[in-house]
Symmetry: C2
Subunit: 91 residues, 2 copies
């Protein structure tokens, strides 16, 4: 199962209870920026494996991830770089 | 201070931590539907005075509320009737 989890922008408390529940249940969290995601997970005392997943590595790792999903792994994709995304879109 | 707090539609866990923090700090919660709001507040163990506030009574109570805000009261307006609102808008 793949969960798409939007993360807060600006205020770490702008995340829903359901998003935190999902992050606590998955086997792996994919993060655009593992540092900022680490801050978020730390605040909510979530200890899960984190892997980087972004436009520079997605083509390399996606097959392995699909395989894991096929084996029943629960993975959350946490998008945390809203403003950065916007900047890249404007380039 | 007046806080506008969007409430979850469909899943009570679709509310942010900040929204719950605000609801725990205010002096009064204004609710479109006090019954559904009661269910939400109960889930998050929030015990605060609730007053009905909707299109059928807003003109009667708004002056008193403004007065309370002027006196430093903290009030949250919790909108919880999304679908109902849409129906009314279509009439």
């Amino acid at each position: 199962m793949l969960y798409l989890v939007p993360s807060p922008i600006g205020n770490l408390a702008d995340i829903t209870y359901r998003a935190v529940e999902v992050l606590k249940q998955v086997d792996l969290i994919l993060a655009e920026d593992t540092r900022t995601t680490g801050v978020l997970l730390n605040k909510y005392q979530i200890q899960k494996p984190i892997s980087p997943y972004h436009q520079h590595n997605e083509h390399k790792v996606v097959h392995h991830l699909v395989e894991q999903l096929g084996n029943g792994k629960r993975i959350a994709l946490l998008t945390d770089a809203g403003p950065e995304d916007l900047c890249e879109r404007n380039e």
